[in-house]
Amino acid sequence: MRNLLRLYPRSWRERYGGEFELVLRAWTPGPRAALDVLWGALDAHLRSIRPETVLRLALLAAGGALIAWLNYQATDDVQPVAAALLLFGFPFGLHRPTHAWLYALLLFAAVPLSGAWADVVSYHPGVPKPAPFYESIVALMPALLGAYTGVAIRWIASASRA
């Protein structure tokens, strides 16, 4: 039960963690209590979400959806997909430099996922055979390039201010 405390946001744990741990120690353990703590942790996370996080997630979802749609419609012209990966990767690298790799990976994931969906529904405009799934890994390059260009520009801007 006490391990479930780790599921709460850090700020919540700093404020209520000590007393909550004592309450959990005194509580009779069981699946119902564990589920209640899990639900409480989810609620605490939802309440701790800041507007900028919502904006970032919305941009990520919009970027992912656009990249997936472009890749789904793509024939042998992959430039629009690459351009979208570059463009959407850039702001995430600029604003979240320590997590640039994660956002690049999440944006990239739209490519193999939409490719897999195209395989499932056998939709391959202009391509007689679906490209091997692993080939989509090439899309990581523009995603990482876009994100780390953002990181580099942030670093240059902060270095020039110092």
Binding site: Y16, E19, F20, L22, V23, W27, D43
Partner: protein, 107 residues
């Protein structure tokens, strides 16, 4: 539905929050003592996640506050706005109960 004196808008934590306020109306208590008191008074056994969901919401809204303590089991007490919110909520419940009983008597 608007509820009296600032308890409204607590979502699914509305009822646990009222029970926490009701428990603290007797005097400062720490988390486990609040849960035990609620169990005795109302027969409702709040889970630990629900209890602290309600406590943290009430604390953020300034309806309850932590009493300075050296103990890790931090006690909470009702604030004046918490007491006012509870009074308003109980008055609303009283109106509902009175109306309900009157209508049932005529049924």
């Amino acid at each position: 539905m608007k509820q009296g004196g600032g308890i409204g808008g607590l979502g699914r934590f509305g009822e646990p929050a009222v029970l926490v306020l009701l428990s603290l109306a007797e005097g400062p208590k720490h988390g486990y003592a609040i849960a035990t008191d609620i169990d005795v008074v109302s027969g409702v056994r709040l889970g630990p996640g629900t209890l602290y969901g309600a406590i943290s919401r009430l604390d953020e809204r300034g309806l309850i506050e932590a009493v300075p303590s050296e103990d890790r089991r931090r006690p909470y007490r009702l604030t004046p706005s918490g007491a006012e919110a509870l009074r308003g909520h109980l008055a609303m419940l009283e109106r509902v109960t009175t109306t309900g009983q009157r209508r049932l008597a005529g049924a």
